[in-house]
């Protein structure tokens, strides 16, 4: 029981943290991009750092947003049959999907990407553009982080389904609209 609660609690915590990070990334993306436009079109000046800030925010948003949507059940489903299934059947299929599809994909990606990311940290990899922002290794780290979050949220969804008190469904409702 201890481990189960620990997984669910940390999944809840990291989900909230991740939403906050994504909101910040989205805001930074917009602000950087609009600043680039105004500076470039009105004054004819440009900064590679700003360009990098926009593309870095976007790069992290691409992957980090995916576990958010998983948790909130926002990924597209084809529910021709699903809408007629009982809730227990739906959950059975969902577990099936988590164990047979989600776990292998993200575990394998994590396994393949880890050495690359560790190497990136060792050389403190910078962006492709010279004169841009440093810290591309941090951006790369978003991918293994996403894999980890997907595995964790998947595990929490598996464990949480039996007891509604975990707040997983409730969290989905709250952010629903």
């Amino acid at each position: 029981m201890g481990i189960r609660n620990f997984i669910i609690a940390s999944a809840n915590l990291l989900h909230r943290l991740n939403i906050a990070i994504c909101i910040v990334l989205m805001s930074v993306l917009f602000i950087a991009q609009i600043t680039i436009v105004v500076l470039r079109y009105a004054f004819g000046v440009g900064f590679l750092e700003l360009q990098d800030m926009a593309s870095y925010s976007f790069a992290m948003l691409v992957v980090l947003s995916i576990p958010v949507a998983l948790r909130l059940d926002r990924h597209v489903r084809v529910d021709i049959f699903r809408s007629r299934q009982q809730i227990t059947t739906q959950r059975r299929f969902d577990r099936f999907g988590i164990v047979l599809l989600l776990f292998p994909v993200f575990a394998m990606t994590l396994y393949i990407v880890m050495p690359q990311v560790i190497y990136s940290w060792q050389i403190l990899e910078a962006g492709v553009e010279t004169g841009g922002l440093p810290g591309y290794f941090l951006i790369k780290t978003a991918l293994p982080a996403t894999c980890f979050l997907m595995l964790l949220q998947g595990a929490a969804l598996m464990l949480g389904e039996n007891s509604p008190s975990t707040g997983i469904e409730a969290a989905g409702e709250r952010h629903g609209k």
């Binding site: 939403i19 994504c22 909101i23 989205m26 805001s27 993306l29 917009f30 991009q33 609009i34 680039i36 436009v37 105004v38 079109y41 009105a42 004054f43 004819g44 000046v45 593309s55 976007f58 790069a59 948003l61 691409v62 992957v63 947003s65 995916i66 958010v68 949507a69 998983l70 909130l72 926002r74 990924h75 597209v76 489903r77 084809v78 529910d79 021709i80 049959f81 699903r82 299934q85 739906q90 299929f93 969902d94 099936f96 999907g97 988590i98 047979l100 599809l101 292998p104 994909v105 394998m108 990606t109 393949i112 990407v113 492709v128 951006i139 790369k140 978003a142 991918l143 952010h175 609209k177």
Partner: protein
């Protein structure tokens, strides 16, 4: 080779079965190919080292600067939706133009086209039309069937009328396929296909579609609705929604109309125009679109502050002033001599930019105060995540597909079809149309275009023309049951009296119109290719 074909058939069938279970599509199109690849590798039919490239594919998506426009356009649409700007636009237009059945039907189509262009979010548009326009249409005596079909079909216009999110994704894929096709025939420096090309190419076909919808709807109203004229008189008397524009309110309505409709329309023209004129990239235009939407949304927000619309107006004016100053060439800062002279133009420009900043900060603060901002950003993240999830999953599918030499098999298959390139085209379009019954635009584009694009574009088909055809075809995917987003959303807001059968039947003429539009674009390719070549050479 033979065993590869077998494995590919297994892959296809398992994918279909997996998608039907209702498990998120993203997990299915990433997980199923992986599982099949593992099983095949046990039989020595798949080389697992293919999978080592997967993280690099994901990094490729993360570093794809074309896609940056996607979350920005989503944010623009969500802000317009959640600040109820689009709703007000629709309400005022229907009230203003809803005098007779004919004009009401036309106004619904025109407003949908406008809202579609600005938000591009099917669900939002269909729900809004269903809640506001459906009662108005039914009141005026338009049949349930025509109203339902009209709303569902008009709601999907956002996919073809630029700026559209799916056109950005399609443009990215078509451009890759085009480069690959040209490289295969030995052309290492092909003319790139840009998202701007696609926006320009889709504009006229989109308008043709609007015209076709209008002609059909007007004909249907005038031919088929004669017995309804009695109900029209009755309902307009006890009018729950005061649709008929009576003379007393006409002038006030006209002012309302201009105040609510003009700013969004100007914004759309600015965003689309700057892309089409080649002034801004789609990403830059999208950022400007978000800024404009912030100002509009704050101007209409419920914050109790009378000066707010005025401030927003002057902020927009400052932005416009910057454009004028830029055009007159008075603003350039000479980077080589920062210590040197700054002309009066530059000072005015700096003042305008500061005003813009202040206005933007005010707008953001207001929208935060009325609880629109964080909700809109969160919703944007969710919608973007759906799209990114599919993109990343689809790269697993295409990796495994290539591991089974699926690209060569499809190439052989397509080139063996009788009728040369036209045979290929017809088969491809049929496959896409059929896939549309179960999948949606983004999924189909990401699955089909990387596979068939390089083969089809190795012929002398124009890439922009092909993309427009695919886009027109895929618009039906939102309309075809059992899984059509537009139908789902419409069902969720339509009253119970409108049966699901009616809804399904109602979209048949519009799917036929869609196919007709494709035939027109095939017959007159210039519809898709003339504008891009005019604008971008």
């Amino acid at each position: 080779m033979e065993s590869d074909v077998l494995w590919l058939i297994i892959l296809g069938l398992t994918l279909l079965a997996g998608i039907m279970t209702g498990i998120p599509v993203m997990l299915v199109i990433a997980g199923v190919p992986l599982a099949i690849a593992f099983i095949a590798s046990i039989f020595g039919a798949f080389d697992l080292s293919f999978l080592l490239a997967y993280p690099n594919r994901i990094f490729g998506v993360m570093n794809n600067t074309i896609l940056i426009a996607v979350p920005l356009f989503v944010l623009m649409g969500v802000l317009l939706e959640q600040s109820r700007v689009a709703e007000r636009m629709l309400l005022n237009m229907t009230r203003m133009l809803g005098g007779s059945r004919g004009t009401l039907v036309l106004s619904v189509i025109v407003v949908s086209a406008l809202i579609a262009a600005s938000t591009g979010i099917i669900g939002a548009t269909v729900v809004m039309l269903g809640m506001i326009a459906l009662p108005a249409l039914l009141h005026a005596g338009v049949s349930e069937r025509l109203s339902s079909g009209l709303i569902c079909a008009s709601g999907t216009l956002g996919q073809i009328i630029p700026p559209s999110i799916v056109l950005i994704i399609l443009g990215d894929q078509i451009s890759n396929a085009h480069i690959e096709a040209q490289r295969n025939v030995g052309n290492f420096a092909p003319d790139p296909v840009t998202v701007g090309d696609l926006f320009a190419g889709a504009l006229l076909p989109g308008l043709v579609l609007v015209a076709l919808y209008s002609v059909y709807a007007l004909a249907a109203v005038n031919l088929g609705a004669a017995p309804d004229s009695a109900t029209e008189n009755v309902t307009s008397d006890n009018g729950l929604n005061d649709i008929t524009a009576d003379g007393v309110n006409a002038s006030a309505d006209a002012r309302d109309l201009i105040v609510t409709v003009a700013p969004p329309i100007l914004l759309i023209i600015a965003v689309l125009g700057s892309i089409l004129m080649g002034v801004a990239t789609p990403t830059e235009a999208a950022a400007v679109g978000v800024l404009g939407t912030l100002l509009i949304a704050a101007g209409y927000s419920d914050v109790k502050f009378k000066l707010l619309p005025v401030i927003m107006f002057f902020t927009a004016l400052a932005a416009f002033g910057l454009v004028v100053l830029k055009a007159s060439g008075a603003t350039h800062i000479d980077a080589s001599g920062l210590s040197g002279s700054m002309g009066i133009g530059t000072l005015v420009a700096i003042f305008c930019a500061l005003l813009l900043l202040a206005g933007m900060v005010t707008a953001i603060w207001c929208l935060w105060r009325v609880d629109v901002l964080v909700g809109a950003i969160t919703r944007t993240i969710e919608i973007s995540a759906m799209i990114f999830g599919i993109i990343i999953a689809a790269s697993m599918l295409s990796l495994v597909f290539r591991g089974f030499q699926g690209d060569e098999i499809v190439n052989e298959l397509l080139t063996s079809i009788p009728g040369e390139k036209w045979g290929m085209l017809i088969v491809t379009m049929t496959v896409i149309f059929l896939l549309g019954f179960v999948l949606e635009f983004v999924e189909i584009v990401l699955i089909v275009i990387p596979i068939i694009g390089p083969v089809l574009l190795a012929t002398d088909f124009d890439p922009v023309w092909l993309a427009v055809l695919v886009a027109l075809n895929l618009q039906t995917s939102f309309l075809t049951p059992p899984f059509g987003f537009a139908l789902f959303y419409f069902r969720s807001v339509a009253p119970k009296e409108v049966s699901t059968e009616t809804i399904y039947l109602s979209i048949i003429p519009f799917v036929i119109i869609q196919l007709l539009a494709m035939v027109i674009v095939v017959a007159f390719p210039a519809l898709a290719t003339w504008l891009p070549s005019l604008l971008f050479g």
